[in-house]
Assembly symmetry: C2
Homo-oligomer: 106 residues x 2
DNA sequence: CAGTATCCCTCCAGATACTG
DNA sequence: CAGTATCTGGAGGGATACTG
């Protein structure tokens, strides 16, 4: 028994669904390196993502309580995205992934 | 700066690609709870996966050096899957995910 | 038991154009 | 700037049948 079974496969599956897809974890990563990013900032940061995919993934993450969206009623429009408390709690996951990524690229 | 930048987004992206999809992380999870599993064991463990998807994901993971495949030349056939050293190195990732999954389900 | 081989189809990613 | 709307091809993935 290498992992505790206090967490069921079902719980893990639910958590994985929140992060599923090619983009979500990368978006979260960039929100860790800079705590607040505007839509256009994210487009530049997440290389290769289309406008449509970005807004779609952002909406998903927001719905799942991982990121927050703050709209400033100004012209031109200004919207800032940041991590929620739940999103910030993902830091150990991202750090573990980084460590793994480095260990296998060497 | 909340995460170290010794790891580029590119490295992270490569690592994420290895784990991408609905099934791979779950397969790895089950190989952590039981260090060695046969094909039919995995089919039972990973609920809802089809034979085709299972073999496809297993091949992907094997190609990326995360799992190993051992064939016993017996009748009926016997094939065992397990984690490689690289796969075992994913334990902190899985553990962090578990912790997160539990914290948000509560 | 542990796969292959097909057929089929949905749905999502990507490109493009447009808007408040 | 921060989106929405629409079209499209192709991958993802299910069902079924077959095999060493």
């Amino acid at each position: 028994m290498l992992l505790s079974h206090t967490c069921s496969a079902q719980e893990l599956e639910d958590a994985l669904r929140v992060l599923e897809g090619r983009w979500k974890t990368l978006i979260i990563y960039h929100l860790f390196t800079a705590p607040v990013l505007r839509f256009s900032d994210l487009r530049r940061a997440v290389e290769g993502i289309s406008q449509k995919m970005l807004i779609q993934q952002l909406r998903d993450l927001e719905e799942n309580g991982v990121i927050s969206r703050k709209v400033y009623p100004v012209v031109p429009p200004k919207v800032e995205y940041g991590l929620t408390k739940d999103g910030l709690a993902l830091r150990p996951v991202l750090q573990a992934l980084q460590t793994w990524a480095q260990s296998r690229s060497s």
